[in-house]
Amino acid sequence: MVRAERAGGSPPPDPRPPGPVKLEVEIAGIRMQNPVMTASGTFGYASEFEQYLDLNRLGALVVKTITRLPRAGNPPPRIVETPAGMLNAIGLQNVGIEAFIREKLPYLRKLEPPLIVNVAGESVEDFRDLTKRISDQEGVAGIELNISCPNVAGGLDFSTDPNLAYRVVKAARDATLLPLIPKLSPNVTDIVAIARAVADAGADAISLINTLVGMAIDVRTRRPKLANVTGGLSGPAIRPVAVRMVCQVAQAVRLPIIGMGGIVTAEDALEFLIAGATAVAVGTANFIDPTAPVKVIEGLEQFCAANGIPDICQFIGGLQIPPRTEERGRSTE
C-alpha cells in the first residue's frame, strides 16, 4: 500500500535493515547463536530428538535432571492432560551422574550448541558434589541447578525458602567456576526474594519458571489422576504466570534470565524477551511437536525481518507500560 501512494516518486526507503537478522545472545559468558534453548526434562538427552530436528540449530541444550544415584521415578500414572497443558509427576527418573558421564555425555559433547547440565540433589552437600563432578567434565558450558522439582520429597524446599536457596547455590558456587543457573519454583509468594537470595549466593543467571504444583481428580473413582497425587503443571496454561515472574525478577535483580513456561511459538518467546529474559527455553511443546524449538527460532527470525529489527537483543527488557491517565479512570465511571 505504501508503494502505491508513492508511485511516481523516488523509491521508498527499505524498512528492513541490510543483512540477516542477528539472533545471537550471551548468558553468563555462554554465547548462543540464538536465544532458544530446551527446557530440562522435556528434551531427554537430546538423542531422542535427533531424527526430528537439526540439534545444531539450537541456541543451547539443557538436558534432563541428573541426580547422584539412579532414580526409578514415580509409579504410573505419571502424566495427565489438563486444559492447555499437562500435569507430570515423573519423579526425576534418570540414570544417575556416573552413567550420565559414561553413556550420555560423549554424545552431547559432539553437538555444537553449548551444553547445560541440570542437576538435583537431596541436600546442600549433594548439590555441591554434583556441581563439582560435572564441572570436572569436558564440554559442559554451564550447570542448571534444579532446586525446584515439585515431584520429589524435599525437592521443593530449596526453592521456597530464601535461606535454603542461598545455601544450595553458595555450596555449588564454591565447587565450580562454570556458570551456575538455579531454576526457581513459581510456587512461592515472593519470587523476587528467592531470586535475590540466589543472586547474593553467586548465581550467574536464573531460569524461570519450573512447573506449578497442581492436581486433577477422576470424578468417577474420586481418586487423583496421578499416582503421586499432585504433579507439576506445564504448557501454555502457565505462560502468563511465567511471563509475570520473569518481569518481576528482571526489574529487581541484575542477572540474565532464561524464561520458560508454555512457549510454543515465536510470539510466546518474544513475550518472555520483552518481559526481561535474555534467552528462552521451549519445554512441553517438545512433546507435542519435536520440531517446536526450530519453529520458534525460524519464527523469531521472520518476526524480526518483517518488523525491521536487526538484532533480537532489542527486545530484551523492552516492556513498555503506558502511563495510567486520569482520563481513562474517569471514562469507566
Binding site: A72, G73, P76, P77, R78, I79, P83, F287
Partner: protein, 284 residues
C-alpha cells in the same frame, strides 16, 4: 509430519475408522507399531493421542478424496471415549492432521512358530488384525507354521470388530461377548482356557514344544493380566501390547512408565521399550 484426512467413517456405533494420507510414511510397518495423532487443536485437548496402526495401504487412488491419491494412507480404528477421540470423530476429509510415527516396537514372530493364538478385547483389535494380515504372508511353503486362532471379546456384538479381516487372513475366529449378543457368553479367558487344554494346542510339556505356540494379545489391562496368568499356567510365550498415558510417544517425557519385574522398583517406557512386551516381564 503433516497429513490429511482421507476418510473418517463410523464402523459401529462407538467406533470409527480413520484414514490419513501422509507423504513420507513407510508402507511396510510392523504390527504393533503405533502413531501419535494430533488434529489441529489448540489448548484443550492439548496432547497428541497414541493409536496402534491398523493398516497402511500403498499409494493407490480411491478413498474418496483427491488428497489421498498416490500417497500412503495410514489407517487406525478408534473408540470415542474422551475429549481427544471426540475431537477426532469430528474430523472431515481434506482436513489437516499431524502424524508422528511409526513409533515403538512390534510383535515378533519366532522362526519355528507353528501356531499363533491372537487375542483381542474391544478396541485392542487393530494391532492384532494387523498381525493376522502379517501372519498370512508368513505362510511360506515347508515352514512349520500351521494356523492362526483368533479370540475376540467384547461387552456386546458392537465391540467385535475386524472379523472379516481375520477370516480373509485364513484364521479361525472364536467370539465371546459378555451379553451373548455374538458368540458365546462370557469373558475371553472362558474360551481361551478350554482351547489351551485341547490336544490340538501344543502342551506345556515338553517345554520346547510349547514354544512353537505363541499368544499375542491386546485389550484392556484386566484382560491382559488374565491372559498373562493363563500364559504362565500353560507355559506358553505371550506378547502383549499395552496402553499408557503418553505425551510424546518417543521416549522424551517418560510419562508412560510401566512397572517391570526386577530387584526393587523398575519401570520401562511403553512408547520406547514397548508397546509390545513379553507378558512375563510386566509386574501385573
Amino acid at each position: 509430519m503433516r497429513a490429511s484426512v482421507v476418510f473418517n467413517r463410523q464402523i459401529s456405533p462407538a467406533y470409527l475408522h480413520l484414514g490419513v494420507a501422509a507423504p513420507t510414511f513407510p508402507v511396510s510397518f510392523r504390527a504393533g507399531e503405533f502413531v501419535m495423532v494430533r488434529p489441529p487443536w489448540v489448548g484443550d485437548p492439548f496432547l497428541p493421542r497414541a493409536f496402534s496402526l491398523y493398516r497402511v495401504s500403498g499409494p493407490t487412488s480411491g478413498g474418496g478424496s483427491r488428497t489421498g491419491d498416490s500417497l500412503p494412507v495410514i489407517e487406525i480404528l478408534y473408540k470415542v471415549l474422551g475429549k481427544g477421540t471426540q475431537c477426532l470423530a469430528r474430523m472431515e476429509p481434506g482436513q489437516g492432521i499431524e502424524i508422528l510415527g511409526p513409533l515403538g516396537n512390534a510383535f515378533t514372530l519366532p522362526g519355528d512358530l507353528e501356531q499363533a493364538v491372537l487375542v483381542a478385547g474391544g478396541i485392542g483389535v487393530p494391532p492384532i488384525a494387523a498381525l493376522a494380515t502379517q501372519l498370512a504372508q508368513f505362510r511360506i511353503p515347508h515352514s512349520a507354521f500351521r494356523n492362526v486362532e483368533v479370540f475376540l471379546g467384547g461387552r456386546t456384538s458392537e465391540d467385535i470388530l475386524c472379523v472379516k479381516d481375520f477370516e480373509e487372513a485364513g484364521a479361525s475366529v472364536h467370539i465371546t461377548t459378555e451379553d451373548a449378543s455374538l458368540g458365546t457368553r462370557g469373558l475371553i479367558t472362558d474360551l481361551l482356557r478350554p482351547f489351551l487344554l485341547t490336544p490340538q494346542a501344543p502342551r506345556a510339556e515338553p517345554r520346547d514344544e510349547a514354544s512353537r505356540l505363541t499368544m499375542y494379545a491386546c485389550g484392556p489391562p484386566a484382560m491382559l493380566a488374565a491372559i498373562a496368568r493363563l500364559a504362565e499356567e500353560f507355559a506358553v510365550p505371550c506378547q502383549v501390547s499395552v496402553e499408557a498415558n503418553m505425551a510424546c510417544g518417543f521416549g522424551a517425557c517418560m510419562g508412560c512408565a510401566i512397572e517391570v519385574k526386577a530387584e526393587g522398583k523398575s519401570y520401562k517406557l511403553v512408547c520406547k521399550d514397548g508397546p509390545v512386551f513379553d507378558s512375563r516381564e510386566i509386574k501385573w
